[in-house]
């Protein structure tokens, strides 16, 4: 188990180097993407490595001449990486439509990327109508065609089916491990799960799927009784990347049993139908998976899902992590908070300035919250 965890850690700590090495070894292209609606299967089917741009952080400052101070750190950090030349290894980038900030980040990338292609996948904001479903499919078809052209390749149905199988395995593996971790059926800390989620974003998908399968063999059928912290905590809110908050919560005596972030449950939720035509099936998954607040499906869908999961998993308290300047999530917070409250589930909200460097204040707030529960 240790060698597998070590490998995830290696990639999580140096995602750019690892992706670059993959490129050198395989001679295949790397394509940067953003968000849990990024059509990774199609990029992979086109022979490229989908690399999730999460921003390595460190406030390099390059983006200050391109983006105002009132922009979220995910977007600023990602642009910093581009401008500092750290993303020069990318052969291209694909931007799915999400929030207003990413919409403009996409434009800024397009105007400032050197020697690499740029594509927009302008997905629908609505997910609840047949016309939106039809449009979703058309956008993905166009993307597949554009990728064929840019990468000078052919994307066959078989390529897509193979890619679907790999990504289903990844999402399933991540979900299974997270569930087992929450129930104490595997000796993995929340911090390690976090490292795994980060590692997956910059690793050859086939390798990631194999490693996850191997980890899953360590899962016990029954929970280890009485070990670990006991306050059952739910996490939700913005953070499009992978925040380093898990260890803090654990140290404060909390056990994360519900994790609704863009790189965790919103990413792993729902499998692509393997028996259906692959491209429409990929499109169909986006309509069904746990939605992001940038999308419109129903007025209460996110709140209902979070409440339902929180109740099912015996969550005592929910922590809303809101990334500063993230509008879509900030709009959703009050109503979801109220829905939880109606069910007697307490919550706290914490605003992060930069998801890569979590404040010491978070520790204090967490401890106080655990005490209150």
């Amino acid at each position: 188990m240790k060698d597998v965890l070590d490998r995830f850690e290696e990639v999580a700590e140096n995602p750019q180097t690892c992706a670059f090495e993959w490129k050198k070894e395989t001679g295949r292209p790397v394509v940067g993407t953003f968000c849990s609606y990024a059509p990774e299967e199609i990029i992979y089917a086109a022979g490229a490595l989908p690399y999730r741009m999460l921003g390595t952080g460190g406030a390099k400052g390059y983006s200050d001449a391109y983006l105002q101070s009132y922009c979220c750190s995910v977007v600023k950090n990602t642009l910093d990486d581009l401008l500092s030349g750290e993303l020069d290894f990318l052969d291209g980038a694909v931007f799915p439509h999400t929030c207003d900030s990413v919409q403009r980040l996409s434009d800024i990338f397009r105007l400032n990327m050197k020697n690499s292609f740029h594509l927009d996948a302008v997905l629908p904001a609505k997910l609840d109508t047949p016309s939106a479903a039809h449009y979703m499919k058309s956008v993905l078809e166009r993307l597949a065609g554009d990728l064929e052209e840019r990468l000078d390749t052919r994307v066959t149905k078989q390529d897509l089916t193979d890619a679907v199988l790999v990504f289903n395995r990844i999402r399933n593996g991540l979900r299974t491990l997270a569930d087992a971790g929450m129930d104490n059926r595997i000796n993995i800390t929340a911090g390690e799960l976090h490292t795994i989620s980060r590692g997956v974003t910059a690793m050859d998908p086939a390798e990631a799927a194999d490693l996850l399968d191997r980890l899953c063999t360590f899962i016990q059928p029954k929970a280890e009784p009485g070990s670990g912290p006991s306050k059952r905590i739910g996490l939700t809110g913005s953070v499009c990347g992978v925040p380093s908050v898990y260890e803090t919560i654990e140290q404060a005596g909390g056990r994360v049993v519900l994790d609704d972030f863009c790189t965790t449950e919103r990413y792993t939720d729902f499998a692509v139908d393997e028996s259906a035509d692959p491209l429409p099936a990929i499109a169909a998954r986006y309509l069904k998976k746990a939605d992001c607040p940038c999308k419109h499906s129903s007025l209460y869908s996110r709140g209902e899902r979070i409440v339902e999961k929180a109740e099912k998993r015996g969550v005592k308290g929910v922590i809303f992590l809101l990334l500063k300047f993230c509008d879509p999530h900030a709009f959703d917070y009050p109503y979801i908070r109220d829905m939880l409250e109606l069910k007697g589930i307490k919550s706290m909200v914490f605003e992060l300035d930069d998801e890569q460097s979590v404040h010491a204040q978070f520790r204090t707030r967490c401890e106080a919250f655990m005490e209150m529960l």
């Binding site: 105002q68 207003d100 434009d107 956008v139 500063k324 509008d327 009050p334």
Partner: protein, 403 residues
């Protein structure tokens, strides 16, 4: 030199009358008017509402009124108490709070029977209207207009056209009667007429000196936003156009003598309009055009007068805010040339991310293509707490030196 009285635009009075009548009708109990009320986003398709005799209400227009009346900050604070972050768009914060406490200059807006949200201006409106739909528990229609980063794609056209049909069906269901296509044709013709007139009004500032500034345009914009598609709007803009032409003949302008001609980008700073006008005016600088007010006639090339409903998809999707920043930059470059401008002032608006992010690139492009000096000012259109007068003042003085 024109006297202060001559400088005043006479049509202002008429506009105030019309807007007062409009709000009085909207606030009259529905049993008396027999009309339903729809809240709609500023970039949303209002014409089908007029065709169905529904009164359109624009929370953003009300937001501007609250801002100009310096009542927004208090409402924003109220929204923050409710749990909404202080970094959210101040129109949205103000409106959400005003719905809860009936705030603002006219004691809140009349309650909606339906909500129409078009995301061609931003993703904020989608979240904002979801909040409203939960609060008022009324039907919400979302017109999803995919961003045209580099062009208008075929699948986008199919998708939005389909939704125009869904919009009509939605209105039929909420209003309980079938859609009046003949009336729609009339409304469509009137809308195109008003937009053409509005463009002509904006074009009058090509003249040197300009008969009005963009601060006037911000005010006279109210009608093209709310009442386009009605005879009232057409009549009003005919009147205004006539007055502008008359001012040109008489050589009347707001800034005398007009030494510098400037262009404004982004929404106005509603609570500081006077201050900006005076501040630049003192240097004999006047804003002869802006990117905001021209947004309500910018898609005329895509509109078909004879098939308004059929051309709505493209014209509503291709508004400038829904395009890429290079396209937005070209728009400003053209304006600089058309209006023979000496400088561009960018309002970096903390409320409006889709309008503001990308401004640095736009500034670079405009600078490179026209050689015109540019100034970036950070503020917020309604939230006064985000405006630092001394800082902005210093920057303006330095900018004027450069001209």
């Amino acid at each position: 030199m024109a006297t202060p009285d001559e400088k005043k635009i006479k049509a202002d009075k008429r506009l105030r009358e019309i807007m007062t009548e409009y709000y009085i009708e909207a606030k009259t109990p529905k049993e008396q008017t027999g009309k339903k009320i729809a809240w709609i986003t500023s970039g949303g398709p209002v014409e089908p509402l007029h065709a169905m005799d529904v009164i359109p209400i624009y929370p953003e227009n009300y937001g501007a009124m609250c801002g100009a009346a310096k009542m927004s900050t208090e409402l924003c604070e109220k929204a923050e108490e409710m749990g909404y972050s202080s970094d959210l768009c101040s129109y949205a914060r103000g409106d959400i709070a005003s719905a809860a406490v009936n705030g603002g200059p006219i004691g809140g807006l009349p309650e909606p029977d339906m909500l129409i949200c078009c995301n061609n201006i931003c993703g904020t409106v989608l979240k904002w209207y979801q909040v409203l739909a939960r609060y008022f528990d009324v039907p919400l229609f979302v017109l999803d207009t995919p961003v045209c980063h580099t062009g208008y794609e075929k699948e986008t056209d199919i998708y939005v056209r389909h939704q125009i049909g869904e919009y009509v069906a939605f209105l039929e269901a909420v209003c309980g009667r079938s859609f009046d296509y003949d009336r729609m044709d009339e409304v469509g013709t009137l809308s195109v007429k008003a937009q053409k007139l509005w463009q002509k009004v904006l074009d009058t500032t090509v003249n040197k000196p300009a008969p009005m500034t963009c601060f006037d345009a911000f005010f006279h914009l109210a009608m093209i936003v709310t009442l386009r598609g009605t005879q009232t709007a057409v009549d009003y803009y005919e009147l205004l156009l006539e007055e502008m032409n008359d001012r040109i003949c008489k050589g009347i302008s707001k800034v005398e003598p007009e030494r510098y001609r400037l262009i404004w980008d982004n929404l106005p700073v509603w609570y500081k309009m006077r201050w900006f006008s005076d501040k630049f005016g003192a240097h004999n600088a006047g804003f002869v055009a802006d990117t905001y007010t021209s947004g309500w006639c910018g898609t005329l090339p895509y509109l078909d007068e004879n098939d308004f409903l059929g051309s709505m998809a493209e014209s509503y999707t291709r508004i400038f805010l829904n395009t890429g920043i290079d396209h937005m930059a070209d728009n400003i470059v053209k304006m600089v040339e058309k209006y023979d401008a000496d400088g561009v002032v960018f309002h970096s608006n903390r409320s409006c991310k889709p309008y503001s992010f990308g401004q640095y690139d736009i500034q670079r492009i405009v600078g490179e293509k026209t050689g015109t000096p540019c100034l970036m000012i950070e503020a917020d259109m309604c939230d006064e707490r985000k405006f630092s007068e001394t800082q902005v003042e210093t920057r303006i003085d330095a900018f004027i030196e450069m001209l």
